[in-house]
């Protein structure tokens, strides 16, 4: 693997998507500001806005850097460079994940920080961690589908499935006894169920990325 080349491709995508990245960061800061006002309605509104911004940047990056690259025929230019398809795949995964992780980590640190700062809401920390991982999982799903299919239709379908997953699973997780118990309390209660769900989410993220590399490695036609 030519890591120097992968890095150049990642920086290329970041440069081309710089305004979207900066815009999402500004959105994150603004929503954290809303949450920081301390009002309960502001907290809920801010949290929803934060999730929308994070999911949007993940989906936008996958579509803009992968699907659009094929659609607008810039892929032949990239593939004319001294890279293999493995390096191309690695650059897309790293480029997208790292960009996503900047607002995602900001969101995780910001929201958990807020919860810790407000003593009455600390019980929400495990659920917030689970939902943050769910958003990461949803983005990895979109990324994997976009890379494997390079199709706008499939990418849109993955975005829909991802969003439904975040909402549906979010609802389901909130009603798991081990997670629900103490969720609205003042202390953090890490139950076995919360740990299993969190672990399962990270394993699924790893599997999705592994499958993406595997499928990409078996492709025979890249243009």
């Amino acid at each position: 693997m030519n890591y120097a080349m992968v890095k150049r491709l990642v920086l290329k995508d970041w440069y081309l998507q710089r305004w979207a990245i900066l815009g999402s960061l500004a959105g994150i800061v603004a929503t954290l500001g809303i949450i920081a006002t301390g009002a309960k309605i502001a907290f809920l509104l801010g949290l929803i806005l934060l999730i929308i911004v994070i999911i949007s940047i993940g989906a936008h990056m996958a579509v803009a850097t992968i699907v659009t690259e094929r659609k607008e025929q810039t892929l032949p230019f990239v593939m004319s460079l001294p890279i293999s398809y493995r390096e191309y795949t690695a650059s897309k995964i790293w480029g997208n994940l790292l960009i996503f992780l900047v607002p995602w980590v900001t969101m995780v640190v910001g929201s958990i920080g807020m919860l810790l700062w407000s003593p009455s809401s600390r019980g929400l920390v495990p659920y917030t961690a689970i939902m943050s991982a769910e958003i990461l999982l949803s983005t990895c799903l979109i990324l994997a589908v976009a890379l494997i299919t390079e199709s706008q239709g499939w990418a849109v379908a993955a975005i829909m499935v991802g969003n439904i997953g975040v909402n549906g699973l979010g609802y389901a997780f909130a009603h798991i006894a081990g997670i629900e118990k103490g969720m609205w309390g003042p202390t953090i209660q890490w139950s076995g169920a919360a740990s299993v769900v969190l672990l399962a989410e990270f394993i699924t993220v790893g599997l999705l990325l592994g499958i993406t590399f595997f499928v990409q490695g078996r492709k025979k036609d890249f243009l």
Binding site: N2, M5, R8, K12, Y15, L16, E72, Q73, T74, P76, F77, M79, S80, L81, P82, I83, S84, E87, K220, D221, F222, L223
Partner: protein, 298 residues
């Protein structure tokens, strides 16, 4: 030292509705080969296999001594590639593209790139989306040429250009090619474009190479003979006849093995040679394709 820049041996690629069949091709270093074929003949598939972007189902592909597709990353370090379906990033400037490509290719020639900017009349600060199609092709050529590739692969670069832009691009390309010896594979369905810059010609049709030779040999060997037969005369048996047209008394033969001695052979057989017409590359290509297709049908 390997004196072949491109070596295909028994290469096949099977798609549901198209097969590239048992393709063998050699491109000696320092030559300019024109790959001519109709739309859908297999030119782009051949070039994509050459670039490692499509994997062959069978056969051996070596480019600059590297086995493809396994060593494509190393091979592409010495290849400049421009294709008809290649686009640059619209929101970025040409200067950004130049800087990006320069950061990848250690052999990037800055002075040469600046000379090409002037020659192609391109402005580095202009965004790609603001360029005309002809300017975009020139920009892509600049990015491919300034990296000083050992092999230049051009897949229908003039397709879609208006006649003026096409002549501009070809003219600039010929001027650039005159600078030094380069190995080039140039594909097109436009024989005039290929004829202008190539010294080796390969015809491809329906996924098979049907002829490959030096351009001068094609132009020297292919002739159209207009005969007048006497009432009792028979059509003389001539070597390399691929097409017989005209009428019974005024036959027109196309041969791919013309020899001036054929005229006396015809006279001896009671046929008068009214004219021996040279053929254009396009006529040679069309006659070649028709002849092969007829053989396949038979």
């Amino acid at each position: 030292m390997n004196d072949l820049s491109v070596h295909f041996e028994g290469v096949s690629k099977i798609y549901p509705h198209f097969t590239l069949d048992d393709l063998s091709l050699e491109l000696p270093t320092g030559t300019i080969m024109g790959l001519i074929g109709a739309n859908g003949a297999g030119k782009s598939t051949t070039i994509r296999i050459l670039m490692g972007l499509v994997h062959q189902d069978q056969g051996l592909v070596q480019v600059l001594g590297r086995e493809m597709p396994r060593e494509q990353a190393a091979a592409k370090l010495d290849i400049g590639f421009v294709s008809e379906d290649m686009r640059l990033y619209g929101p970025a400037t040409l200067a950004w593209h130049m800087s990006f490509v320069q950061s990848i290719y250690p052999q990037w020639d800055q002075a040469y790139s600046e000379m090409l900017l002037r020659r192609f009349d391109l402005k580095p600060q202009q965004k790609i989306k603001g360029l005309s199609h002809g300017q975009r092709v020139k920009a892509a050529l600049l990015l491919a040429l300034a990296r000083r590739p050992r092999l230049l692969v051009l897949d229908e670069p003039t397709t879609g250009l208006d006649p003026v832009a096409r002549q501009e691009v070809l003219g600039e390309l010929m001027a650039v090619l005159a600078d030094e010896d380069r190995t080039i594979l140039f594909s097109s369905h436009n024989t005039l474009d290929v004829e202008q810059i190539s010294d080796q010609i390969t015809f491809i049709d329906r996924g098979r190479i049907i002829a490959s030779d030096n351009k001068e040999m094609f132009l020297e060997r292919w002739r159209r003979l207009r005969l007048v037969l006497s009432p009792e005369g028979d059509l003389p048996s001539l070597p390399g006849v691929v097409e017989v047209g005209g009428s019974e008394r005024l036959p027109v033969l196309v041969t791919n093995r013309f020899d001036p001695a054929m005229v006396s052979v015809c006279n001896d057989a009671g046929a008068t040679v009214q004219a021996v017409d040279p053929m254009t590359l396009e006529e040679i290509f069309v006659a070649n394709v028709h002849s092969r297709r007829e053989k396949q049908t038979v």
